[in-house]
C-alpha cells in the first residue's frame, strides 16, 4: 500500500479531498478554469459543485472544472501533436513490443498485458510488427514458436492479410534460424520433443472435437431464425430449454445402461414370466390407450416403475461368476446422476453468478453505459424487429431521463405507513392462499371421494388440480402485486417469480409429505410404483397444460387481435398486434417440469426419457408459436441477469428434490413385495451393510469412512468452510476500498495531466508568438522545455505505476 497515497491526503473512505492539501503540496497550483489568480486556500472560498463520481460517490469539485476540456482554446493541429508526443501514447507503441515479450512469460498465468489485445496496429505496418516478433527469442523457438506466434497473432487487431504475411515471414525467419542453430550442434532434449508432440496431438484433438461438436449442434438454424426476429431475450428461453434437454441425456444414459438394460437381460434369461401385460396377482391385463395417460395398470409391471426391478444378483451369462448386484446398481446409479447434476448445476450457477453479479456490481449498477453501448442487438436480422428495437431503446432512454429528473420525493410518514400496511396485507393474502391451496391438494390426494364415473379422470384428478392451480394463481398473484406499487418494475418481476416458486414448492412439498407418510402406504402394496405413476401423471398433465396454454394464450390472442380489433390497427402502419412471449412464465414452467423429473427418476427410471421427448416436442411447438403469433417485446429483457436468477431457482429446486429423494432412501421403509430393496429395513441400509462388510477385509477403508462420517470431522469441515467464506469476504471488502482509492487517484492524475498540458500550451503559444510561424516545428519537439517534460514524465510514470 505504500507509495500509493503520497501527498494525496489520508482520505480513506472520504470522497472529498480538501483543497488545503493541494495548495500545500504545490503552491503554484491554479485551477484556472475558475479564472482566479489567488491560490485557493480554503474550501469555503470556492464555489463547489457536486459531481457524481463513477462509483456513485459524491465529490465536490471546483465549479466548471468538470466540463471544460483543457484543449478547448488551442489549435487542433497543435493539440494532436501534443497528444502524440505524450509518453503515455508512445508507451502504447512500445508496449506492443514489450507486451509481446511479457505475454509469453505470463502465458501460463492469467494476467494480461496492459491492454487486453495487443494494440499494435495503430501507426505500425506489418513489417515492423514482424520485426518485433523476430527479435523475440520465444517466438523463434523451434518447437513452440509457431504455436506462440499464431496465438499472439490471433489476438492482435490487424487485417487478415497482414496477419498471414507476418506469419509467413516469421516462419521463414524461424526456419533460417533453426538451420543456423543446427549447425552449432544445439540439440533438443527428448523430453522437450515429447512434450511438443503431445501438445500438437492434443491441439489436433481439440480441433477435431470442435468440428464434431459443430456438426452435431442441435437446432442451430432454428435458434438463428428466432434470434433474428426477436433478439436475445426470447432466445434465452430456447437456450435454457436446449440446456435442460442436454442435461437429461446423461441421466437417461446412465439409468439405461446400469439399471434398465440389466433388468431386461435378467428377465430375458430367466424367461419367467414372458412378455408384459400381467399384474401382481398373475392376472393378465391388456394394453389400452388410456394407460399412456394414467401411467397405471399395464405400465405398472414394466420397466417404467421401480416396483418391477428385481432385487436379485444377476449373473450374465447364466451361471457364470460375473455377478451384478441389482441393489447396489440401482442405488449407486441414482446417487451417480444426482451428483452429476449437482456438479453441472453448481459449475454453471457459479460461472453465471461470477459473470453477471460479481463482475457487474462494483459499487454501482452501470445502467447508463450498458443501455447505450449494448443498446443494439447485433443478432437481429428482421426489419420489423429492428424498428421495434429502436423504439424500445428510445423508450428506455426516455424512462431513464424521466426517472432521473423526478426527484424521489420523500414519502411522509402517512404514505409510508399506508404502503407498509398494504404490503403486509397482500403478503398475508398470498401466503394464506398458498396455505389454503396446499391443504386442498392434501385433501384431494387423501380422500378418494373424487372417483367419478369416468375412470381416467379420477386418476388424473390430482394432477389436473395441481396444474390448474399453477395456471390460474400466478397471474392472480401478479395482479395483486400491481397494487403494491413497487418503484422499479424489475423488483415487481422478481417478487412475482419468488411467489410463484413458493407456491410450487409448497404444493410439491405437501405431495411428497403425503406420499411418504403412513396414510399413503396403507393403500398400496407397492407404494413406490404408486408414487412413480403419480409423478408420471403430473409430468404428462403439465405437458398438456403447456400445449394448451400456448394454443389459447398465444394463438387465439393473435386471432382475436387480428380480426376483432381491425379498426384500430389500420392506423399503426399495418403492424399486427400480437401477444408478447412471456419469457418469465415459460421459463418457470420449464424449471417446474425439470424439478418433477428429478423428483421422480428414482421411482420411475424411464421418466428422464419421457422428459426428453416432452422437451423436444415443446421446443418445436413453442418455436412455431413464437414465430407465427408473437411480437417482439418493447420492454428490454436483461438476459444475463435473469439467467443467473433462473439458474438459482433451478438449483434450489434440484436441492429440494435431492433432499426429498434422500429422505425417501434413508428414512422411509421400502415396500416388502416389490422393487430392488424389498425386505430391507431401509434402502440406505445396503450401503451401511456394505461398509460394515469391509470390516473384515478392508479394515483401513472401513476405518477411514467411519472417521469421515463421524460428527466431529463433519463439524470441523463445516467450521473450516465458514472460516474460508469469512476470509473471502474480508478480502472482498479490502478490494472494494482499494478500488475507491485508485479511482480517486486516477481522477487526480487526469487533472494533473490537464494542468500540465495547459501550462505547456501556454508556454508554446507564447514562444510561437515570439518566434514567428517559421519555427513552429521546433517548439513541439520533446527536447525543448526540458523542465516541463520532466514534469510530464513524472506524471506519466505515476500513471504507469497505477495502471501496472
Amino acid at each position: 500500500m505504500a507509495g500509493y497515497g503520497n501527498g494525496y491526503g489520508p482520505s480513506g473512505q472520504g470522497q472529498d479531498i480538501p483543497m488545503q492539501d493541494r495548495s500545500h503540496f504545490n503552491p503554484a497550483y491554479r485551477d484556472d478554469s475558475l479564472q482566479r489568480d489567488r491560490v485557493a486556500v480554503d474550501m469555503e472560498g470556492i464555489r463547489m459543485e457536486e459531481r457524481r463520481g463513477s462509483d456513485g460517490s459524491r465529490e465536490y469539485c471546483p465549479e466548471g472544472s468538470t466540463r471544460r476540456r483543457w484543449a478547448a482554446t488551442a489549435e487542433p493541429r497543435d493539440t494532436a501533436d501534443l497528444i502524440n508526443a505524450l509518453p503515455s501514447r508512445q508507451l502504447e507503441q512500445i508496449a506492443s513490443g514489450v507486451a509481446a515479450k511479457e505475454s509469453i512469460r505470463r502465458r501460463k498465468s492469467s494476467r494480461r498485458s496492459i491492454h487486453g489485445t495487443l494494440r499494435a496496429a495503430r501507426g505500425k505496418d506489418a513489417n515492423e510488427v514482424a520485426d518485433s516478433f523476430t527479435r523475440n527469442d520465444d517466438y523463434m523457438d523451434e518447437l513452440d514458436g509457431e504455436a506462440r506466434t499464431t496465438e499472439t497473432l490471433r489476438r492482435m487487431v490487424l487485417p487478415m492479410h497482414d496477419k498471414l504475411s507476418i506469419k509467413r515471414t516469421t516462419s521463414e525467419t524461424r526456419k533460417q534460424m533453426t538451420l543456423k542453430r543446427g549447425q552449432t550442434h544445439k540439440k533438443i532434449g527428448w523430453w522437450k520433443r515429447t512434450k511438443y508432440s503431445i501438445g500438437i496431438s492434443w491441439m489436433h484433438f481439440k480441433h477435431r472435437m470442435a468440428e464434431f461438436a459443430y456438426s452435431l449442434e442441435l437446432w442451430r438454424s432454428h435458434m438463428k431464425k428466432i434470434e433474428g426476429h426477436f433478439g436475445t431475450g426470447v432466445t434465452s428461453y430456447f437456450l435454457f430449454l436446449k440446456w435442460l434437454f442436454l442435461l437429461n441425456i446423461p441421466v437417461f444414459t446412465l439409468t439405461l445402461g446400469f439399471v434398465v438394460v440389466p433388468q431386461i437381460l435378467y428377465r430375458y434369461n430367466i424367461k419367467v414370466p414372458s412378455g408384459y401385460g400381467f399384474s401382481v396377482n398373475e392376472t393378465s391385463v391388456s394394453f389400452t390407450g388410456e394407460e399412456l395417460l394414467t401411467g397405471g395398470n399395464w405400465f405398472n409391471n414394466t420397466e417404467l416403475y421401480y416396483g418391477f426391478y428385481t432385487d436379485q444378483v444377476i449373473e450374465i451369462p447364466v451361471n457364470s461368476t460375473t455377478s451384478y448386484n441389482m441393489k447396489y446398481a440401482y442405488l449407486f446409479t441414482c446417487g451417480g446422476y444426482y451428483i452429476l447434476c449437482l456438479i453441472t448445476l453448481a459449475i454453471s450457477i457459479s460461472q453465471s453468478y461470477k459473470m453477471n453479479y460479481i463482475e457487474g456490481s462494483g459499487t454501482h449498477t452501470f445502467y447508463n453505459v450498458s443501455r447505450v453501448f449494448c443498446g443494439w442487438d447485433y443478432n437481429i436480422t428482421d426489419k420489423a424487429a429492428a424498428r421495434l428495437k429502436h423504439k424500445s431503446f428510445y423508450n428506455e432512454m426516455k424512462e431513464y431521463l424521466s426517472g432521473s429528473k423526478k426527484k424521489s420525493h420523500k414519502k411522509n410518514m402517512e404514505e409510508r405507513c399506508k404502503l407498509l400496511f398494504l404490503r403486509v396485507l397482500t403478503n398475508l393474502l398470498i401466503l394464506g392462499s398458498i396455505a389454503g391451496l396446499s391443504y386442498l391438494v392434501f385433501w384431494i390426494s387423501g380422500s378418494g371421494t373424487l372417483k367419478g364415473s369416468v375412470y381416467i379422470l379420477s386418476d388424473l384428478a390430482l394432477s389436473l388440480c395441481v396444474s390448474a392451480i399453477f395456471l390460474v394463481f400466478p397471474p392472480i398473484f401478479s395482479k395483486i402485486a400491481q397494487f403494491e406499487k413497487y418503484e422499479e418494475p424489475k423488483n415487481e418481476l422478481y417478487i412475482n417469480m419468488i411467489r410463484t416458486m413458493l407456491l410450487k414448492t409448497c404444493v410439491l412439498g405437501i405431495l411428497v409429505y403425503f406420499w411418504f407418510t403412513d396414510t399413503a402406504k396403507d393403500k398400496y402394496s407397492c407404494w413406490e410404483t404408486a408414487v412413480g405413476s403419480e409423478i408420471y401423471r403430473l409430468v404428462l398433465v403439465d405437458f398438456f397444460f403447456i400445449l394448451g396454454a400456448t394454443f389459447f394464450l398465444e394463438f387465439l390472442r393473435r386471432i382475436c387481435g387480428q380480426y376483432c380489433c381491425n379498426k384500430g390497427n389500420e392506423e399503426q402502419e399495418g403492424q399486427a398486434m400480437g401477444p408478447e412471449f412471456d419469457i418469465g412464465r415459460n421459463t418457470l414452467d420449464l424449471i417446474y417440469s425439470q424439478a418433477l423429473c428429478w423428483l421422480g427418476t428414482f421411482y420411475s427410471p424411464l421418466l428422464s426419457l419421457v422428459m426428453m421427448v416432452k422437451l423436444f416436442i415443446i421446443f418445436y411447438v413453442k418455436m412455431v408459436s413464437v414465430l407465427q403469433n408473437c411480437q417482439p417485446s418493447l420492454r428490454p429483457w436483461r438476459a444475463a441477469k435473469s439467467h443467473t436468477i433462473f439458474m438459482g431457482f433451478l438449483f434450489f429446486f434440484f436441492l429440494m428434490a435431492m433432499v426429498a429423494v434422500a429422505v425417501g432412501v434413508i428414512i422411509i421403509e421400502p415396500s416388502k413385495v416389490c422393487g430392488p430393496f424389498r425386505g430391507e429395513e431401509k434402502a440406505y441400509s445396503i450401503v451401511t451393510n456394505l461398509i460394515d462388510s469391509w470390516k473384515g477385509d478392508l479394515k483401513v477403508l472401513h476405518d477411514i469412512i467411519n472417521f469421515i462420517s463421524s460428527p466431529g470431522s463433519i463439524a470441523s469441515i463445516l467450521v473450516a468452510l465458514c472460516v474460508g467464506t469469512y476470509y473471502m469476504r474480508i478480502v472482498m471488502i479490502g478490494h472494494k476500498e482499494m478500488v475507491t482509492l485508485l479511482r480517486q487517484q486516477l481522477h487526480m492524475e487526469g487533472r494533473d495531466k490537464a494542468y500540465l498540458l495547459r501550462m505547456l500550451q501556454d508556454v508554446s503559444q507564447k514562444k510561437k508568438e515570439k518566434l514567428g510561424p517559421s519555427n513552429v516545428n521546433r517548439l513541439l519537439s520533446p527536447t525543448s522545455n526540458s523542465t516541463l517534460e520532466a514534469g510530464q514524465r513524472t506524471a506519466a510514470e505515476r500513471k504507469r505505476a497505477t495502471v501496472a
Partner: protein, 199 residues
Amino acid sequence: MKYRLEFCDVISKDNMGGGSSIFTKQELDDYQELTYFTKKEIHHVYKRFKSLAPNPEAVTKATKLSRDELYALPEIKVNPFKDRIVRVFSSSGDDSMTFEDFLDMMSVFCDHAPLAIKIEYAFRIYDFDEDDSLGREDLRKLIDRLTGEMKLGESDMEQLIQAVIEESDLDNDDGLSFAEFEHKMTKNPEFVTSFRIRM
C-alpha cells in the same frame, strides 16, 4: 414457412463437399489458426460471402465486395452502424472487403472470440471521428443512430451524454479512452450477448 425436423446439421443442406477445392490445406490451416473458426465454419462463411456477390460463380478469394453488396447481408442490413462496421473491417479503407476481411469480421463477431478482441473492435466501430477516444460527438452520433426514427430532444441528449461521461470517465478528460471503455465493457455481461452474430 416450412419447418424441417433438423436434428443434426450433418443431414442439412449446407454440405461441406463443394467448398473444399477453393482453399489449399495450408490456407485452411492458416485460417483456422488465425481466426476463431473451425474448418467447417470457414466453409460456411465462404458460402455466405459467395451469396452476396452479384455473380456467385465467378467469386474467387481475391474478389472484393463493394459496400452496397455487403449491405445486402441480413445481419448488417438492419444494423444502424453498418457503415462503421464495413469501414473498420475493410483493410483497404475504402469500404470494400475481400473474403479475408469478411472472415476476420465474422470471426470477431462469433461466439468463441475473446472479450478483449470484441471490445477493441467495438471501440473502433463506435469511434466515429477515429481519434482513438469516444468524445461527446461520438456519443451523440451513437445515441442518435440507436434511437432510429425518433429523435431525442437536445436537452435530453445533453443530459444523457453527460450521464454517460460522468459514469465512465475516470480521468476527467471529457471522453472515454480505450482503457475506460474496456473497463466498463468487461464489467458488463450484456455486452457479450449483444455484440455477436451467429453464423
